[in-house]
Symmetry: C2
Subunit: 259 residues, 2 copies
């Protein structure tokens, strides 16, 4: 692909670009993201970023983010320090994250650490899984009269606890609910949603490895989601969607091109 | 920009690609979106899509979507028919929408109409304003311990009525609330949120023309949002964000590169 009219922003040595890699298909990178990969000296990437995307940075050294041992908090401090160290060496650093860096991607923490260290950074948004994975399997995230509001929530947080969420309110506040990193908790989450008044037969979609050759979609209900999640490929990035918009999928899938 | 390793999917004559244009900066188009623009015979675009983006389709005929008179419903039927007619003529049609086609973009309705008419289509996601506009003005949409859940809602629906939303639940269900197309209703919305228990001094960001040269950001509070919206540029696409994550903005903005 060649876009001769377009010129990317200057990528200064000693700066860090926090770049969203999107759901997996390299064609869903933004132009700025693909450009950044081609310019970088070092790419610090998450484990789940696809090979096809990393191959757009053949000139760069690849470093897996936060390889060192420790809990999530230690690991995040390690990544922050890794980025600061590389930038101080005068490298052009891409910090590449699946989806969007600021949607449950902890990019805000990395940006704060860089700002505190006086390192200039750029944020390059990406297609978040909640948007890209659902489109890839023919589910409109919003739809007139079916979904006026969509909530994106995470299935785990630093407290490791579901209690901090007001499940009753979340359940009644948005017709469509999208859960990131929730496959281990979906049984508990579904139970809370049913308690809060969502119908046990409301459809649930479990979408793994979206937009990749090994995309896997399972349709269940709130009542059967805990059972259905056992069949999800292990180690995959799985997005879980709850809402009646899932019913539109068979109508659209017959005519949607995805190859 | 040149990405020699990448080849786009085949764009068949007689098919329609529903393409997200992102928030405005052409660099935030996905590779597939930019590629589609370069391949299209016709681009049916919304009024708010930027000139810089339309210029990526110099070979295509540009048609404004739904030029004919009528209310929103008639207009949407008109757009559906416009797409079907062009596809049946054997054209390669790009339907270009600001942001993402399925996030308050009515892309689901267009896809359903195409499916019903037996016309193959592809969905190319875009960076939705809720994600792209907030990143552009240094606001992390989620942040550990500040935002575990984000709700995207629309400020107007087909009933033209705010009553259909459970404001109490929306307000308590997600720490961060993002409203699309809500500038006319922000006074009413803010009042409902305060009634539901959100603090009157909670920060509100009004982001217009995000990622474009004329980007305009105003920070207010729930108590002052109705007043602040009067200063927003008329005719702009304005996104309204409510949440304590806005407090992080000055910390990040000093080191974030946006030119």
């Amino acid at each position: 692909m060649d876009f001769p009219g377009l010129v990317g922003p200057r990528f200064d040595p000693g700066s860090v670009w926090l770049v969203g890699a999107g759901p997996g298909d390299p064609g869903l990178l933004t132009l700025h993201a693909a450009y950044a990969l081609g310019q970088a000296d070092v790419v610090v990437h998450d484990a789940l970023v696809s090979e096809a995307i990393l191959s757009l940075a053949p000139q760069a050294r690849l470093e897996l983010a936060g390889k060192r041992a420790g809990g999530i908090r230690t690991q995040q401090l390690g990544i922050n320090n890794q980025l600061i160290r590389l930038a101080r060496q005068g490298q052009r650093v891409v910090r590449l994250k699946g989806g969007d860096p600021l949607v449950f991607g902890r990019g805000g923490e990395e940006a704060l650490a860089l700002a505190a260290a006086g390192i200039p950074f750029r944020i390059v948004p990406g297609i978040s899984a909640g948007i890209g994975a659902t489109a890839a399997c023919s589910i409109p995230l919003t739809h007139r009269n079916l979904a006026r509001s969509v909530a994106f929530a995470t299935g785990h947080d630093s407290s490791g606890d579901l209690a901090a969420v007001d499940w009753h309110a979340l359940s009644r506040g948005s017709e469509v609910l999208v859960f990131y990193m929730a496959q281990r908790r979906i049984g508990q989450i579904a139970a809370r949603l049913i308690e809060a008044g969502r119908a046990p037969d409301e459809p649930v979609a479990l979408i793994s490895n979206a937009t990749r050759p090994d995309q896997d979609v399972r349709i269940a209900t709130l009542a059967t989601a805990a059972e259905a999640v056992r069949a999800v490929p292990p180690g995959a990035a799985t997005l879980i969607l709850v809402g009646s918009v899932i019913a539109l999928r068979p109508l659209l899938a017959a005519w949607q091109q995805t190859e």
